[in-house]
Symmetry: C2
């Protein structure tokens, strides 16, 4: 009976998503001008997403066909389900975001508290869609597999569960495409809008005269919303699947319940998300307090659920302790990220100070801060791995990760709140609303930046720990479980070679992602400069820019550039597995994970710190806006853009895609 | 009898060094003005080096005392010998360089071919000092150890050889101090001279009105010459020692000759270096051809010596094959570095193109190129490790590395040729020599840039492969040699934790190195701006700048900033060894090596490519000097400075210091 719960919870979640979506769209979108601006953004975002889905589907269909031939019908269906549900979650979430932004702007005209509620509810559609569809998908696949295959012995159980693994691979593949495509789009548009609009033409942010302004807003939605949604859908799904596979290795200890536990724990996460969402009401005065209360309640509820499940279902309270470790770790990582990227602390102050000595020293300071920022989070992750292992073995490491991931829904809601507020502020600027309205929205936007920092730290911890859970699942699936024998032993030169190749792949991947942004941004800068030059009266506000053309250039190049890095990531582990076999492939996975994880932390924090150093100067330090220090800081911010919003987050998915591909095809690699 | 050869060859090498030094200083240093400028540089460099040595000696004395108490007299002496000989080699080499630069300038007034010869001979003092002192030091220590300890069994041999290991640790520690201190000094001075002089004040490179110009020239000597010399002294020494330790594991196969082989092979390298140096004569017309011939002859001679030693001494021609693999690999890595950083190829052209769209896109392109450039070299290194292992086992990997390192002398000579030519051109500019003389020296300078690219690729391959040899030696010394048992198995979470911590340390180290340059450069920029502002008539050439004050600021901060990263690197493996024990420490070493190696390749090539993109634009592309594209490229070049000349090369030493510290203290770590 227990096994039906995830499916039911998933359906419940979707119903609540529909309700919240209805509550959002029922609000008044405001003046005809605001509706028109919002519709530009909505059309651009939908047009991009449709073309992106079309491109992704081609690859997905081919891989599903290959999977069907190699492994059978259920794995192929499972793969399709994972990829399609991921894209649907991203699509629903982004759609709610583009509906919520203009309604947030309009609400801000009368009530700031209502604006907060609408923005957060808009984000909640994304958060809840992600976790509900994941639990629904994996839960119902599990029911199908149970009905179709015998699962009397651990061996049979393992074979049956292996048909669910492609769900994770589908989710990862779709996520990497979406995050890369969206990330390239948003940053290329952002860089062009900033460089040519703000720096060269000297017009304010989000000014309607800027030809890239709509593309920039669209980018926030397809990159920050849809991309991040697909990202967390796959983290969430991969971890459930990885822990289920690992559960087989603990069959003698926990029986079938060890396999069911992750599904149950994350179903509980869906319930706590629903409760926490409805805590955000119009009565709340301070937006950051409102969100913090909501996050805190969700965390406490999850801890209670975990305790209950650990003791009642598994009969092992150690699993609860491990999960608590995970929750604490995500908190510490979040605080570290805030320290390294917040405007109130030494690192960002140091970057701002360096910007007085020119753009180069600003960038140098930013790179140093980013590199340094990896230290504490990785120490924390190492500590979690060590303690969770001491407390409850490999299953404990997975439980720690499950503990972090159980709050995904509400975290994702808080994260999507960011781009919605950002867009809302942008719409207010473009529609020329009053100063009070814009200031109110800027406040929400600032809150959005704080929640972004927290969710970034959270996403880091999730990605690296999930990858280790998948690695453990890989070892289990590859039959590398005899602790008295060398398994992935670095003292063997071929294992070392695997490690080197995996690490190097992370560098190649980052290079391609960053270059893609650079190339697309070059094209965008060219186009925006051309429009300013060739459209008469544009700067004076007498003529309209050609928004559509800028949107089209971003779309075309982002879609083109997202393909190569994704395919390399997908095929590399297959090639290594076939050439070097299972053990070096294990080291390859670890190399990709450690190098990718470190690069991601470096890039995300360097970019975040450079961004906030600019904001610190804009608040009046070292001459404020327009000073030489500010110009330097703008260069630094731009350098950080592809690091923090394209390569960095994509690396999170990269590390898991590598591992889950290895896990899916492990049977084809010689031992 | 054979065992005396290294000592004799070492003494012979030193005698030849004295001869070449005499041949250089006997040349005419030119006009009184030139002599005066050269003496500024010489005094600044010597003053810095003396204060640096003093700072380093404090740490060395303390560690020697601890070592004496913990391990006995011979290890303490061995440690002192390694560190002191390293510093002596760097001191002799740098002294020859500062004598050679002004004499190169003077020779260029009459004969460009003679200028080439003097510059190359100046560099040869460094190259030959490094290899001779290393062979002499280790060779005579080996004689002492043989006389003092019984070496009848492999166990006794191992204990005896273990007393030589601290020689390598001393060399590594001194090298890290020297490379970091020199690297911080040179780049802080370079950045300040460029930013304030070239960009803000608009005066040419090496203009005597620039207050940082002498500090910049001093920096070339203490960073590029002395720093690099100490770096290669430790690579060369560490590899000999690592291979000797590894030889013990091959005792049954090769007997005592397996321990002697590396010493003999590198003694042969000294001989081939001497021969190749004297091939550079005044008759040669094309400088790059002359140097290439010299490198080629040295390579061929070494191959012949290797064949002879492998067949006659070890009776195993497989070792010869492995060494050839190493030589080929260093060639491929060198070519790759030239592709990624040369002005004639796609990557640098792409960076130059991007600089049209502002400094941020220039830097983004540079970072992407750097990240991508790690792919081929690491694949090559992985291939060498694999094939050498297939051909001749772990000893084969060491032989491949020995193959690369046997050309160290001549490579180091070609490398030091670079800063000598650079300084010579600077002196010509400051002394206001004729256009023809300066153009002739600029040609030599350009050749110097090419040889630098080759030697950088070479240093990369050496550093990473040497680290693996040391890792093998560590496994052997830590008794982790039973291949049927897990040794450094990543499937064990604690081993994984070791790997994560080691990788993270490389990031922390890079952060500290880059930040040190940034901080020191900030101080220098402030000072240079102050002098331009406060010294009346300075820009008009009516007053002299206060060179000494700029030199002093660089010196003080470089010495202060070099300490922390070095001490962290030294103590980290000891802490990990005591806390986590031998196996996780093995993974820690591998993590530091792979992460450090990749970061080094990324940083060195990103910096090199950004530098050459600037040069490409200066040659007339996209508007040439003074254009917006050029200004952007200057920012990119400056960002690359601390990456390519401070953090990158220091990481090479970092990876080996971590490993040799672990190797030295392995007996104190629980198994």
């Amino acid at each position: 009976m227990l096994e039906v719960i995830p499916t039911i919870v998933g359906i419940l979640g979707i119903l609540v998503v529909a309700l919240i979506y209805y509550l959002v769209v029922r609000e008044d979108p405001g003046t005809p001008e605001m509706v028109a601006i919002a519709s530009y953004i909505q059309e651009g975002a939908n047009a991009y997403l449709k073309r992106q889905f079309y491109t992704i589907f081609i690859f997905i269909a081919i891989i599903a066909a290959i999977l069907g031939i190699l492994e059978g019908l259920i794995p192929a269906i499972s793969f399709l389900a994972g990829s399609i549900l991921s894209l649907i979650a991203a699509y629903i979430g982004m759609n709610a975001a583009v509906k919520a932004n203009v309604r947030t702007t309009n609400a801000a005209r009368t009530s700031p508290a209502k604006a907060l509620k609408i923005a957060f509810w808009g984000g909640s559609v994304m958060g809840l869609s992600v976790v509900s569809l994941s639990v629904l998908g994996i839960g119902s696949l599990y029911l199908i597999v149970r009905a179709l295959y015998p699962i009397e012995s651990p061996q049979q159980l393992e074979m049956a569960l292996h048909t669910i693994v492609p769900f994770g691979m589908g989710a990862s593949l779709a996520a990497l495409f979406a995050q890369l495509g969206g990330g390239i789009y948003t940053k290329a548009a952002d860089i062009a809008a900033d460089l040519v609009g703000k720096v060269e033409a000297g017009i304010p942010e989000d000014d309607p005269r800027n030809p890239a302004v709509i593309a920039d807003q669209v980018g926030d939605n397809v990159g920050d919303c849809a991309g991040r949604g697909a990202d967390l859908f796959e983290s969430f799904s991969d971890n459930i699947i990885g822990m289920m596979i690992l559960g087989v290795a603990f069959y003698t200890l926990y029986g079938l319940k060890g396999v069911l536990f992750p599904l149950m724990a994350e179903s509980a996460g869906v319930i706590s998300t629903i409760i926490a969402i409805f805590l955000i009401r119009e009565k709340t005065k301070n937006p950051i307090t409102a969100i913090n209360v909501s996050l805190f309640v969700s965390g406490v509820l999850n801890a209670i659920f975990f305790y209950y499940l650990a003791v009642e279902l598994l009969g092992d309270y150690h699993i609860f302790l491990a999960a608590i470790l995970g929750l604490i770790a995500s908190l510490v990582v979040g605080v570290t990220v805030q320290y390294y990227t917040g405007t109130g602390y030494r690192p960002v102050k140091y970057i701002a100070e360096s910007s007085q000595f020119g753009p180069a020293l600003d960038v140098i300071a930013g790179l140093a801060v980013g590199l340094e920022s990896a230290f504490v989070p990785l120490i924390v992750i190492a500590a979690v791995v060590s303690f969770a292992y001491i407390v409850a073995g490999l299953y404990g490491i997975a439980a720690a990760t499950a503990g972090i991931l159980s709050t995904t829904g509400i975290i994702m809601a808080a994260d999507t709140f960011g781009p919605i507020s950002d867009n809302a502020a942008g719409i207010a600027e473009m529609a020329g609303l009053s100063k009070e309205v814009r200031e109110g929205l800027d406040l929400l936007d600032a809150v959005g930046n704080t929640t972004k920092a927290i969710t970034k730290g959270y996403a880091m911890a999730c990605a690296i720990l999930s990858a280790f859970v998948l690695f453990s699942a890989y070892l289990s699936a590859a039959k590398l479980t005899d602790v008295t024998m060398p398994r992935v032993d670095l003292a063997d030169p071929f294992i070392l070679v695997g490690l080197i190749l995996g690490s190097t792949l992370a560098y190649l991947f980052s290079a391609l992602a960053i270059r893609a942004v650079g190339k697309t941004a070059n094209k965008m800068v060219e186009e925006v400069r051309r429009q300013f030059r060739e459209i008469p009266g544009l700067l004076e506000g007498k003529a309209k820019p050609d928004y559509a053309r800028a949107v089209d250039i971003s779309t075309k190049h982002a879609l083109k550039e997202m393909v190569l890095p994704t395919l390399i990531t997908f095929f590399a582990p297959i090639i290594i597995g076939l050439l070097f076999h299972r053990k070096p492939l294990g080291a390859f996975i670890v190399g990709a994970t450690v190098a990718g994880g470190l690069l991601a932390v470096f890039m995300i924090n360097a970019g975040g710190a450079l961004d906030n150093a600019k904001k610190l100067i804009e608040s009046g330090l070292y001459g404020g806006k327009g000073s030489e220090a500010h110009k330097s800081a703008v260069v630094g911010d731009t350098v950080g853009d592809p690091l923090k919003d394209t390569a960095g987050p994509s690396l999170h998915i990269f590390v898991k895609l590598v591992t889950i591909v290895a896990l899916t095809f492990v049977a084809f690699f010689p031992p």
